[in-house]
Subunit: 90 residues, 4 copies
């Protein structure tokens, strides 16, 4: 990933927030919070994870597909996208 320093920091900050959200699930399990609450925490983690994934996919589409160094690199980046999408849309 050859992102700008700014993008990189933004993505890493999102991963940190996700870790914080997982720690909240850990604590909720420890102190035996209601299932419904834990399911809602998990649903919001899923939303945050999908948001992060969308961001990385977008960066990938713009940097490695749209602004690819050459046709070979572009073809490889398209294959990578295609493979990843198959795991999301199945």
């Amino acid at each position: 990933m050859s992102h700008t320093t700014h993008q990189k920091k933004k993505l890493i900050a999102r991963v940190s927030r996700l870790k914080g959200q997982l720690e909240a699930v850990e604590r909720a399990l420890e102190i035996e919070r209601p299932c419904g609450e834990i399911l809602q925490l998990l649903a919001s983690i899923r939303g945050a994870l999908n948001g992060l994934t969308g961001e990385v996919l977008d960066d990938h589409l713009h940097e490695h597909v749209l602004h690819a160094a050459d046709e070979k690199a572009r073809a490889e980046a398209v294959e990578e996208i295609s493979e990843v999408l198959r795991t999301y849309i199945r």
Copy 2:
């Protein structure tokens, strides 16, 4: 979509099969088949719909992104992909 005639026929055949699967759900509801059976029919329709969507996305990536007429067309095709993905990965 500027697909080859072959690809076009293949995609239309998939849509026809999906319609057939929906008719099976219609009949199952009519004759009041068990819920579990209807839920399984719906799950397999979802799989078939996702398979079709993956196919169209792949065609799009190859024909309009990889083999775009020019940079402007490629940028537009990338935006279209990006928008669609946001509705799937959210």
Copy 3:
């Protein structure tokens, strides 16, 4: 599915609408509409299909889980739900 006649009609009407949406995709493919348009049609079909599935799951939870005839029937209905969910959340 032992739904009321009203619920049954509502569900069948949703399936009919879905068939209509698939026919729109068929026509769009036939006359070679842009990929982006076809992908948007497919995304809205997915939304409608998920809405229908949510409806059937809800009916199932209320009629066969909550108001089960007996404990054995309830246990079976819970297993059915559990299996279906595994295909959606994986």
Copy 4:
């Protein structure tokens, strides 16, 4: 969540593994690993998160729906499931 100590430990162990997987993404972003690799790490986190969610849903269905203390508690547990499912199947 009134899980047995065994179940609770198992779920917490899964959350710990997920945190470890997120730390791998953090490192991969730091040392600028290829996008495709990061997307694959994110896809496997999504799989693990969905696995954990499926586990919690299953526990919920069995403990709070199937073996509910009374009808009122069961009705509430069914509503919770119904709400959570709407965020997954939409």
